[in-house]
Symmetry: D2
Subunit: 342 residues, 4 copies
């Protein structure tokens, strides 16, 4: 008998990705699948790519339907995980793919999300210093946002080692699945194909305070982040280009060494060989974060580029990686470093 | 110790897909990786998505580098497998992803490929009646072409059951990876994005005689195939729309029943539930062929639509499925029915 | 002073394309722009590419707002043009981009559209034999559907000349803009990118009876059409592959000659040189229909491939071409044969 | 009789775009079309979208074939325009779409292009202060690079007004046509579709010194530019995100006012209304540069986003705009602000 697992929000993109990974996970037994307005329909009507689960009928997302499982993954609109999680048992591992439990500062939460702060759970990014240990045996996990995953992994080694000034500029391109399955006109294929566009410019994107929180903690001092997200004509993938002023005397060798050290032994994140630059296609469907660094001496800046699959390492894969740690399983169980390409 | 396996043509798209699947196959141990002009370079320079194999150096494709393996996958330009295979031992399982050993009629081969005919090997499409048995214990396998895989699976049940006239019209859309990694101007991203184009019209595509051969064998009589391939702006996937005149008296129910019977128990191919139509995204990275059928009473025709991933079920996945049978392993080992979507 | 022109449905894709063309038309003066639920907003909120009109505020679509113009283009959901047109003056040129006045047979209309039949107007396809004359001086024009434009232009020469049997198979790929701007989940970028899918299979697509009507009229006898539309990952473009059985004795030369004759002198439609096959990118933003023909002797079939921009020749450009004729202007005024590529 | 015009490099993407625009230019008569290895073939074999010119045969690019024209557009690989231009008459307007005459500093040229410096010609960006006047009556024009067009237009108003520190960070996404028609594996559709990738990171891209030169001139002091180009899955378009530290006391209102003033009366560049952000699709085929600005108070930075069509405003349209000025024609002749969308 496997570890009995429920997924709330199974008809959405995040829930679908959690299920895609769980379906190949050797220790997991998939239990209740729930949804909001799609309750009562077959999973296959929404996730036809999940062939082995396509005939499952979605239950309504309630504490009752989610009861009786060892693990519950929540893939819900922000603000919904908080109230629901309160009614799930303390002995159940609850993994929230939403934003509700990521931010430590209630003021940040309220300013960016406009509702009462639910609290803070252990943050599901095992590559951060000390974080792997914090996740072992945890009963609650806040899965990082997709952009913060890419940006935090890109910049923490340089900030932790004091190689750059605490003033980070990030421009990131994301595939459209990051916006979820909401049928909004600007997300129509006709609008997004053949076009790159900017949105959430000027520090207004909700993932900004999460990046600031992560990077400030690592730097041991306040870090500012100028974050500009852009929408690219692809379904999946984030390419984050991150720069900060190099501290005087930094050499390209020292920069590279800091990243090699920070990612030494990490199974899912690290530098590409010199001369190769990340492309999101390298990570499609894989739980990897692939980085490259450069020191631009003329501009006096460090540039770090990170590629992830926003749904895998940025959501469902990251969630399973942290859940594995919490459950005492091998961290990489059910996960792959092999992407689907071309 | 796993089954020692070599892949010739490892830097191309077909070879990369074989490796993507073998990398997750529990019984396979990956041995020599070889290439033509890319010999001497790292696999990661060509296949950066194959993280766990990225540091492997490609050897030259020769009988010597391929010797000493239990299985050899050949993913070479057509015409190259024939001479090479002659020099591989009879006790080695040789799986040819190329066209060299697919056609039974030397005249067909010579007309479409313009070189001497190499011969005919057991055809790697286990879903064809009797073919699964023919593959068990085989030492040589000819992997079907990508278009013939989709079209044969789409039409054989109707032809075998005599439900349609032996005069098939096929229009298929393929992703660009079907053309391989050759750097030709018309395959540049700038040319293919935002555009669907026709090519190989009027029966001139090399996969036409393979479809005719398969469908005629099943129908027990000559079948004509009017085949028009089109190039679609996506990397992977084939959607084949196949039609033939319905025999008098055919009902929608009888049509559906014939397909359900033909695919009863098949792990990797079959009908979608009524009302759902195939999309190639449902099959991305999966070894599935997803079908749907309709009877157009006004036009008097049966329409069958099939979706596959041209690189997975259409090449590398199909190759591994047949190799599993030849090796006496469970047919689905290392393969999945779960696609990567959205 | 130009010809005063109103556009109803200006915030949709068809209305936007009509405006894109009218904005460069030397004889047209753009008057009222109207919308349904978008009334009261700026055009630029919906059509930011129409820079010179972006500040215009959309009025509500009513007979009153549309009054006082010489020409009114209707780009409305089907069923809405009929009642509205009744209240526009007989001296006004009304060009309906919708389906309301295309079908001659009320039974066809009711079966495919489910509402009372509005009537039949002169059909805006000047390339059809005799149709150019029918459009000169007309006060009402029914713009053809996008698929019927491509398919009719592809097949009428062969049917008119009796070169093929009256039994046509069509498989067409369309860009997503053909479905309009309705925010439906299956049209989201995340769903359509990287995927080709079938829909409306088995003769159920609403454009089927329009094709049958056109081709039967030209053939002088009932023609059946098996029509399968597919959705391709691009915003614009239709590639229609059309085949029919060749009549005995047909030669490739005679086939080609029939098309050259049918399109002799046509400004916007015709054959590509031998050896070149249509791609939708050749027609992007242009009012052209580009064709190529082949005779497949093995299969005994004629294959005709046609490429158009579904929004230009298939909607807005075709509408302006016919309106030019109706207004006594040069047929090509404001239109181009030059596409935007790559 | 029109102004007799030749285009060298007519089979490439830049040459094709120049021709696309010239084909609709009312004062231009298109003369010789020349090419390198494609000489002797029909233009339509390479540019099938240019229907009215498709039958033209390409001559070889030599001083002789280009002689006898009033205007010559050069769309050649860098390094080829210099020697050729020397042999074209001083009375001929020569417009170089290549890089040869853009950089003032021979050392910059040699470092980034590795060949002898050809010289410096009037820079074809009329929106720069004083530049429109410099172009009137000119006989030689250096068309700006595509990235420098977007970045210079994005940042010059803020730098000229002293609103930001002279330390600019740029991350730009480009469509693949920016790399030209060279058939390189990494530009294949299979590689670029579904993927965003970084390249030329760390100040190594050849357009970097051109940006530094432009922005330093406007700022009246050395400006550093950290430039990271990325490749996006689309054929056309550049979206450049540019940021710099805001000078103390800068307000959002003052920022906006500076841009409104800088672009007051400009026909082809300027701010979008507040609340709307640029998308490259808004500019497809149009000669427009569309901007938006934000002041991120938390990060203390100004963010400017610019969208252009790299082939139109970024190459062929910009070239014609400057040529119009040089020829004493209305600046916008043959150009449009209306994009092709969706």
């Amino acid at each position: 008998m496997g570890i009995r697992t429920a997924v709330a929000g199974a008809s959405g993109y995040a829930g679908g990705e959690v299920l895609r990974i769980l379906a190949g996970h050797p220790e997991i037994e998939i239990g209740a699948l729930t949804a909001g307005s799609n309750a009562g329909t077959e999973l296959g009507a929404h996730q036809p790519h999940l062939r082995s689960l396509a005939g499952r009928v979605l239950a309504e997302t309630t504490p009752e339907t989610l009861a009786g499982h060892d693990v519950v993954f929540l893939a819900l609109p922000h603000g919904q995980s908080g109230p629901l999680a309160e009614r799930l048992g303390d002995d159940v591992l609850v993994v929230d793919c939403g934003a509700d439990f990521r931010l430590a500062d209630p003021a940040d939460w309220e300013r960016f999300y406009g509702s009462p702060h639910a609290g803070t759970w252990p943050y599901g990014l095992p590559e951060l210093p000390g974080q792997r240990e914090a996740l072992r045996g945890a009963k609650r996990i806040a899965v990082p946002g997709c952009y913060p995953t890419a940006v935090t992994l890109a910049m923490f080694p340089a900030l932790a080692a004091g190689l750059v000034e605490p003033d980070v500029v990030v421009v990131a391109a994301s595939g459209t699945s990051g916006a979820g399955r909401a049928a909004k006109p600007h997300l129509l294929g006709s609008e997004v194909m053949g076009s790159v566009s900017a949105y959430g410019v000027g520090g207004t994107h909700r993932h900004t305070p999460e990046m600031v929180q992560n990077l400030s903690a690592v730097a041991g001092a306040p870090v500012t982040v100028s974050f500009t997200p852009t929408l690219a004509p692809m379904s999946r993938g984030i390419l984050a280009t991150c720069t900060a002023k190099a501290r005087p005397g930094l050499t390209a060798g020292a920069l590279r060494a800091a990243y090699e050290e920070a990612y030494d032994g990490e199974p899912f994140a690290g530098l590409l060989p010199e001369g190769r630059w990340p492309a999101t296609s390298m990570t499609l469907g894989a739980n990897t974060a692939l980085l490259q660094v450069a020191l631009d001496e003329a501009a006096g800046r460090v540039v770090v580029v990170a590629a992830i699959d926003n749904l895998t390492k940025g959501t469902g894969g990251g969630a399973v990686q942290s859940a594995n740690l919490a459950l005492g399983l091998p961290e990489g169980l059910g996960l792959t470093t092999i992407g689907v390409s071309p």
